[in-house]
Amino acid sequence: MDKTIGSPARAVAGIGDGASVMIGGFGGAGSPIELIHALIDRYLATGHPTGLTVINNNAGNGHVGLAALIEAGMVRKLICSFPRSADPVVFTELYLAGKIELELVAQGTLAERIRAGGAGIPAFYTPTAYGTELAKGKQIAEFDGRPYVQERWLKADFALVKAHRGDTLGNLTYHAAARNFGPLMCMAAATTIVQVSELVAPGAIDPEAVITPGIFVQGVVEVPEPAQEEVLNRSQARYPEMTSCA
């Protein structure tokens, strides 16, 4: 069995209108730029997919990657913890115009909800957000004399994740703090597509060093020397010029 996919374009070909899509990354670290741009390419060529629900920690920065996806008008709803950035103009304008929906989730709760989705835990309790606006409408329960908020799992149809090395079975390692939400999103999506800087044969990754075991991954596409969102933004890149490797 070989989970390799030949190009970012083919890797994202199955994402349909209205799909929920987890996108890895915290700020620019771990953002799968080439997969996102391949998705925009497809939308510009075919009009699909649209009406996406995107789960990411942020709301994009500048005019590449997630920001470009939002700018293209493909995103109906964003689930995130921190929709601010150095250059948040794309999301901010759409949000203030009421053209994009926002579900704000505390960062740790977002991470735990995604893990719960991947681990078959439909709900859990957390102290986070108790007594705040973000707990409104949620069930409160007391354990050992302290109040907690019930939170539900979060799953998605797809996950788009950037890893460092991957083998053809989908075993992954990450680079530094680009790991962030990647291993969790791989667990929580029905179809997880990962771009790796280096694709290797099974056995090339030490079993002790595997961060995401291949069982959580459905497709792997090699993108050597991938773009880095922060670097792109510092050079003021914009999506159409910054072509994907599709």
């Binding site: 079993p207 595997v210 069982i215």
Partner: protein
């Protein structure tokens, strides 16, 4: 015309239903034999709940690393592309629906898919291990079992009388006499030994066997 399949032959039959690349957890004991009989050209990836994906056969005697064991505490080896992980991640794979197949043994299976395989009653020391987790989450939960107990009592029953492992979780049963699916609260007979009449099989089964189309012969090699 054989009277019944051996455990090894039941395991062989179960192995024929496992797709190439499937993620599979095999219960301790007879289900472990399934790994030996993967059809040519197919390679499943085996999960053991104590934290390994893609383990392989036992090492040569004397070459064991007793930190490299499966859930049955038997020494194993690794295949290329193996991974280690801790117990919470391992059971995230189980309960998160990431396994394609889990194959377990059974004391009793009920026609609604209930499984009893962990306790024969209040005597002795109870032990459950990972069975109650494994019956939830795997896309397909199958059972390998003798069709009847050593005393001749049915193991496929209307309702389990022994303590349950899981509720409505089993979808296919491979027995020493037949292959039976569980659908909509019924035992659906798919295959039976050629020399065995439907009535004979029904007589050894504790709940009604249903038919939906022709019943194939259950044929396995000598093993």
């Amino acid at each position: 015309m054989r009277l019944k399949l051996s455990s090894t032959q039941i395991a062989w039959r179960a192995a024929q239903d496992i797709a190439d690349g499937a993620y599979v957890n095999l219960g301790i004991g007879i289900p472990e034999l399934v790994a030996r009989f993967q059809p040519p050209g197919r390679q499943a990836i085996f999960h053991t709940e104590n934290g390994i994906l893609n383990f392989g056969e036992a090492p040569a005697a004397g070459a064991e690393d007793w930190d490299l064991i499966n859930a049955g505490k038997k020494a194993v080896t690794l295949r290329p592309g193996a991974a280690f992980f801790h117990h919470a991640d391992s059971f995230a794979m189980v309960r998160g629906g990431h396994l394609d197949v889990a194959i377990l043994g059974a004391y009793q299976v009920a026609e609604n898919g209930d499984l009893a395989n962990w306790s024969t009653g209040p005597k002795g020391v109870p032990a459950v291990g990972g069975a109650m987790d494994l019956v939830h989450g795997a896309k397909r939960v199958a059972v390998i079992t003798e069709h009847v107990t050593r005393e001749g009592a049915p193991k496929l029953v209307e309702r389990c009388t022994l303590p349950l492992t899981g509720v409505e979780c089993v979808t296919r049963v491979y027995t020493s006499l037949a292959v039976i699916d569980i659908e909509g609260g019924h035992f659906m007979l798919r295959e039976k030994l050629a020399g065995l009449s439907f009535d004979d099989l029904q007589a050894q089964t504790g709940a009604r066997l249903h038919l939906a189309g022709p019943v194939a012969d259950l044929t396995v090699p000598e093993l």
